[in-house]
C-alpha cells in the first residue's frame, strides 16, 4: 500500500513522463513479399511501399509468383472475379455481387476490370502505374524472384529498369534487417 505522499510523487512522475517530448524514432525499414498480380491485389503492396518510403522508411519489395508480372514495363492488370466472393461493386445506389457461376463467362473479368478502372479514376485513386513510378522515384528496392522467372519463362528484359534478381536467401537476409515484413 503506497502512502498518499508516494502516490503524489508517482503521479508527478507519470505526468512528467507523459509530457516529455517523444524521442525521434530511429529509422525503421520494411519489406513486402508481393505474390498477387491482379488489379485489386496490386494495390496494397504499392500503397504501403510508397507510403512507407514517403515516411522515411527504406523499403524492399520481393516479387514472386503471380506478383512478378507487376514488374513488366507494360501492365495489363485485370480484376479476377472468380473466387472473389466478397467482391461487390457499387451499382445503382446499392452494391451488387457477382454469383460465382457467372465469373466463368468470357468477358466478365474484362467487364469487371473496366468497372473497377472507372471507379479508380472517379474516386481519385492512383493507378498502379502511377504508384509504381512513385515507388521507383522513392528508391524502393525491387527484387524479382529468379525461380519464378525460370518457372514461368519470363525475362527481365521486359521489366522496368533497376530491378534486381534474387532468391529466397536474398529476401531472408533483407527480412532479418527489416522492422516490418509483410506477405501480400
Amino acid at each position: 500500500m503506497m502512502s498518499s505522499e508516494a502516490n503524489a510523487v508517482s503521479s508527478q512522475i507519470q505526468d512528467a513522463v507523459s509530457q516529455a517530448p517523444v524521442a525521434a524514432p530511429k529509422t525503421k525499414s520494411m519489406s513486402i513479399i508481393v505474390t498477387k498480380g491482379s488489379l485489386d491485389w496490386a494495390y496494397p503492396p504499392f500503397i504501403l511501399a510508397t507510403t512507407a518510403a514517403a515516411m522515411g522508411l527504406p523499403v524492399t519489395m520481393f516479387f514472386t509468383f503471380y506478383g512478378l508480372p507487376l514488374l513488366f514495363k507494360k501492365l495489363e492488370l485485370q480484376v479476377t472475379a472468380a473466387g472473389n466472393t466478397a467482391m461487390k461493386m457499387p451499382m445503382m445506389g446499392g452494391h451488387m455481387a457477382l454469383p460465382n457461376i457467372m465469373t466463368a463467362i468470357p468477358g466478365v473479368d474484362a467487364a469487371c476490370s473496366v468497372m473497377m478502372k472507372n471507379l479508380i479514376k472517379k474516386k481519385g485513386v492512383a493507378s498502379i502505374e502511377e504508384l509504381r513510378e512513385l515507388a521507383v522515384e522513392a528508391e524502393v528496392r525491387m527484387i524479382a524472384c529468379q525461380m519464378t522467372l525460370d518457372l514461368f519463362e519470363y525475362s527481365t528484359d521486359d521489366m522496368i529498369d533497376g530491378v534486381e534478381i534474387g532468391g529466397a536467401a536474398t529476401y531472408i537476409e533483407c527480412a532479418t534487417q527489416s522492422d516490418i515484413n509483410l506477405f501480400i
Binding site: 524514432p25 500503397i47 507510403t51 514517403a54 492512383a126
Partner: protein, 76 residues
Amino acid sequence: MADHTLDAKGLNCPLPILKARKALKEVPAGGVLEILATDPGSVADFEAFCRQTGNELMEHTVNDSVYRFLIKHTAA
C-alpha cells in the same frame, strides 16, 4: 503564412501523403507547407505522417468538406 501550397483535393489515399512528401522537399527548413485535401482519411494520416517523419503539424481545419493542413518542415 505558407511558403508553398499543395492542392490535393479529389485525390485519394495515399496520394495526398505522397504528394505532400514531394512538396515538403521544395519547402526550406522551417518553412510551412499548406495542403488542401478532400479525403477524410487524410486527417489521421497527416497526423501519423508528421509523428513519424518529425515534421510539425501546426494546425488542421475543415471548411466546406475541404481539409487544410499546415505542416512546418522541421525534419532533417
